[in-house]
């Protein structure tokens, strides 16, 4: 059997088994209906997911009520001063005559010029 004969018989066999195809319009309409159904389901799912997400955000943003049964502790000055701590090496730090953070030192101003520069 040559190749042409083989092809012919194979095709013939396939055509016998396949029969007629269903009408295109029927299959197409069914496919369109299925596609629209899929889209509707997807939109419903997306809507539900979006609603849940918004709900989660709203719940998350709600202010937390401060518990009213907490007892505050007032720390007195005596207690604060009793806990003052200094490092042993603080004695090495020089004590200045001025408080560097409170007194702004003034710069000495000169009225003499040296090579056109104010000293």
């Amino acid at each position: 059997m040559n190749e042409a004969e083989l092809k012919r018989r194979w095709k013939e066999s396939l055509q016998r088994r396949s029969g007629d195809a269903p009408a295109f319009d029927e299959v197409w309409v069914a496919a369109e209906a299925r596609y629209l159904d899929e889209r509707r389901r997807f939109r419903r799912l997306s809507g539900t997911a979006a609603a849940l997400a918004v709900l989660a955000i709203v719940i998350g943003l709600l202010p937390e009520n401060e518990p009213s049964n907490l007892q505050g502790v007032e720390v007195g000055d005596d207690l604060l001063s009793s806990t003052l701590w200094t490092a042993p090496s603080d004695v090495l730090i020089p004590r200045h005559g001025i408080d560097i953070y409170q007194n702004i030192p003034t710069l000495m101003e000169s009225t003499e010029f040296e090579e056109e520069t104010l000293l």
């Binding site: 059997m1 083989l6 194979w10 066999s13 088994r17 195809a21 269903p22 299959v27 197409w28 496919a31």
Partner: protein, 177 residues
Amino acid sequence: MRDDDALENNPHISRKALEGLHSQLFGWTLSRCNFERAVAEDLMQQAYVEVLSGRARFDNKSALKTFLFGVVQNLARSRFRRLSTRLRLLVSYGPQEEPFSQQPEPGAERETRLVWRAVAALPARQRDITELVFCREMTVEQAATVMGVTVGTARVHYDRAKKALAVKLAELAGRSP
């Protein structure tokens, strides 16, 4: 140029073009489903849904026929894999290859029956590629695209299939009364 009935999600495909290929596509789909008509009709519908939705998008770089045959091939393959997995879970040993109807068509001529038996004896890949070239008017390159293999691989399968068919037909003709 865009047809008036071009699909929204696949502008390079028109309904008219699909209608023109419908019959050939059904034949290929049936062949993928072991000639179970109801399964094939469902798979065809699914293929059209993929095209309508744009999940299978045609870029107009190949023939529309090649593209559609490829969509059906991929859907059939996924479907078979899912069924195979379920069978394996239920039965422990699932089918290793896609099923193919071994039974020759009753009432067919002797030579036609011999051809069918020789074709059924081919490994699946060789059979599929050769069917596309012999019976579906495709080139080896187009068959390679449909099957998702390289052109080189498709050529090897095609050549081996032709040789195997020649040997098998000679064997069957010698045995058969």
